[in-house]
């Protein structure tokens, strides 16, 4: 603790902090709460507690675990997020080694290039990738009558679109950890007779693993919740956020959306917890 302010100040400070967290929690609580409202509309008045919006299997109160479309959205989200996190952790790890270990000209410039995707508005990322992909596909179709289906909106483009900025996040996380790595540890292993591959496998990667796992989880969650970039790239396999948005904007919301929200909140909180646990490793020697 730096220095103790006087108690009156500290009390009001604490109150402010409390109010802030109330502010943070409010919309989530509101969104989660109505998942249990026994009504067809996610709004007051409170009609009584029910779990129908999770488990009921008949219309009109079709619970989320019986709603095929939501489940399909969940499934696509899951597939997309898995690919995105695997891919972005892989490239992020390569980037970490590239930027921490290698010397090459214009490194600073490339580093800025690496950080850039994080600050490009997601909408623009989605659009630009969509435009490029469609133009190439159209060009290929007209000129060569080639059908490059993977360049059409669909899972692949969604994965690429999310990957394009999530990789920056994973890179930053992994770079931070690799920077803390004491290179003499590798030299020590080398000195003890290990081959290069063995050093990588037994020393460096195990050391990086917590960061890679945490980066993977972050990537997974960010991918799962992404809307702006996905919106433009989605084809017929809509992930959950898009499904929910379509449901809300085009069909009308029922508390089943709250149920999904609640489910996601709990899931995300658990995942976030896991990521914190894996990252909390023993202090360095």
């Amino acid at each position: 603790m730096a220095i103790k302010p006087n108690t009156a100040f500290l009390t009001s400070y604490r109150l402010y902090v409390f109010a802030f967290f109330l502010f943070l929690a409010a919309p989530l609580v509101a969104a989660g709460m109505f998942a249990f409202n026994d009504s067809l509309f996610p709004s007051l008045p409170w009609q009584g507690f029910t779990l129908d919006w999770f488990f009921n299997d008949t219309e009109p109160k079709l619970g989320m675990f019986h709603d095929r479309r939501l489940l399909r959205g969940l499934y696509y989200s899951f597939v997309i997020a898995s690919f995105v996190s695997l891919l972005s952790v892989f490239v992020g790890t390569c980037n970490a080694f590239l930027f921490v270990r290698c010397k090459f000209p214009a490194k600073d410039f490339f580093y800025i290039m690496m950080v850039l995707p994080l600050v490009i508005p997601g909408v623009i990322l989605g659009i630009s990738i969509l435009l490029l992909a469609s133009n190439i596909a159209n060009g290929a179709e007209e000129a060569l009558s080639l059908d490059l289906d993977f360049l059409r909106p669909g899972i692949i483009l969604v994965v690429l679109g999310q990957f394009s900025f999530i990789t920056t996040i994973t890179s930053l996380v992994i770079i931070a950890r690799l920077k803390k790595f004491d290179e003499s540890m590798e030299e020590a292993a080398f000195n003890l007779g290990a081959s290069r591959v063995r050093v990588l496998r037994t020393i460096t990667l195990p050391y990086l693993f917590p960061a890679m796992a945490a980066a993977g989880i972050v990537a997974f969650l960010v991918s799962f919740e992404n809307f702006n970039t996905t919106l433009f790239l989605v084809g017929s396999e809509a992930p959950l956020t898009i499904t929910m948005y379509d449901r809300m904007a085009k069909v009308g919301s029922t508390p089943v959306l709250n149920a999904v929200s609640f489910f996601l909140m709990v899931g995300s909180a658990l995942l976030a917890l896991v990521s914190i646990l894996v990252q909390r490793d023993k202090p360095q020697t």
């Binding site: 219309e59 079709l62 059908d147 289906d149 909106p153 379509d246 009308g252």
Partner: protein, 341 residues
């Protein structure tokens, strides 16, 4: 869990045009077909198909006025094989109308499915006098009306101001002057409305809670709300409700045409029409459709429409290229205008 030789029918359609009940029934009847549904609207349907070059979906359901120009411009659809569709069950007037609207080089690109109208919705007890598009701007209901900031209201207002926008499609300069007039009116009106609704959802919420008393609406929404509160009725504006027909069209690179035809025929079967109409709230373009409406909907329709109103319907005309852009700009102008606040 999917059978080995399964085919997927990817529907690109409106929010309520693929009720789960019907999909399940269809899949039961055709065990080798799985149905995947993407909800959309006219603009997004076109945008999406344009981006995919007509791939990614096997059956789309744009409105009848949105096919001709788009097809010419972007070549998104393939011609229908009418022999595979049981057109005999369709209401001939609607079928012919759609065919006329969507024939290019002798090929027909769409057949009708559901039709409905856009008009007004009012809470009879709170806003008994809402009769025309312009009444949404009546200071009596200041802060208690709503509309969707889309082309429907532009057209409606134009009719309300005594113009015929559809006629003006032939002369886009004239159309622009109409739009300018409408824009001025709507900008003036801005202070009168509570919010622009964006989807069925917020409109229903505002209407049911009494936050607003009158709004521009799709008839189906009004019918649904009638079920909740019989005071809420659909009001065909006195210049005529605007009528649209959602169609069936095959995206150019659809891969499951047979399944698509099967679906089209399937939903036109009378017992399925009933289920569909219960979900959409609008009428199917089959003969005797009104009788196939569920009872509550029937009551709502009866409460809303007289035969006179039916005769007065204004069907959306084919949109020529470039009109979307003009309208878009007008809408942006209205949205951006803050002077009247």
């Amino acid at each position: 869990a999917v059978p080995a030789q399964a085919e997927t029918l990817r529907l690109l359609t409106w929010g309520s045009y693929a009720p789960e009940e019907l999909v399940k029934k269809f899949e039961a009847a055709n065990p080798d077909i799985t149905v995947e549904v993407t909800f959309s609207n006219n603009e997004e349907m076109i945008a999406k198909l344009r981006a995919t070059g007509g791939a990614g979906f096997d059956l789309a359901q744009p409105s009848h006025d949105r096919i001709f120009a788009v097809q010419q411009e972007y070549n998104l659809y393939k011609p229908l094989d009418l022999s595979k569709i049981d057109t005999s069950v369709m209401e001939p007037k609607l079928l012919e109308g759609v065919k006329a609207n969507t024939t290019i080089d002798g090929e027909v690109y769409a057949v009708p499915h559901q039709w409905g109208t856009s008009g007004l919705m009012a809470n009879k007890s709170l806003a008994p006098d809402v009769k025309a598009w312009g009444d949404l701007c009546d200071p009596k209901y200041a802060g208690k009306t709503s509309m969707r900031l889309k082309r429907t209201i532009l057209l409606g207002m134009a009719f309300d101001m005594g113009e015929d926008p559809f006629a003006a499609y032939a002369d886009l300069d004239k159309y622009q002057t109409i739009l300018d007039k409408v824009a001025d009116k709507l900008i003036d009106c801005k202070s009168n409305i509570k919010a622009y609704w964006k989807g069925r959802d917020d409109l229903s919420a505002m209407m049911l809670s009494g936050e607003i008393v009158a709004s521009e609406t799709w008839d189906s929404t009004a019918y649904t709300l009638y079920g909740e509160n019989p005071d809420i009725v659909f009001v065909p504006p006195k210049t005529g409700a605007l009528a649209w027909i959602d169609t069936f069209a095959l995206p150019r690179k659809g891969e499951a045409d047979d399944a698509a035809y099967k679906w089209i025929n399937f939903v036109l079967e009378p017992e399925n029409v009933k289920i569909m109409s219960a979900s959409t709230g609008s009428s199917a373009s089959v003969k005797g459709a009104k009788d196939m409406l569920p009872d509550d909907k029937k009551a709502a329709v009866s409460a809303a429409f007289t035969d006179e109103d039916i005769a007065n319907l204004k069907f959306f005309a084919n949109i020529p290229a470039g009109v979307e852009d003009m309208e878009g700009k007008t809408l942006e102008k209205i949205k951006a205008a803050t002077g009247s606040e």
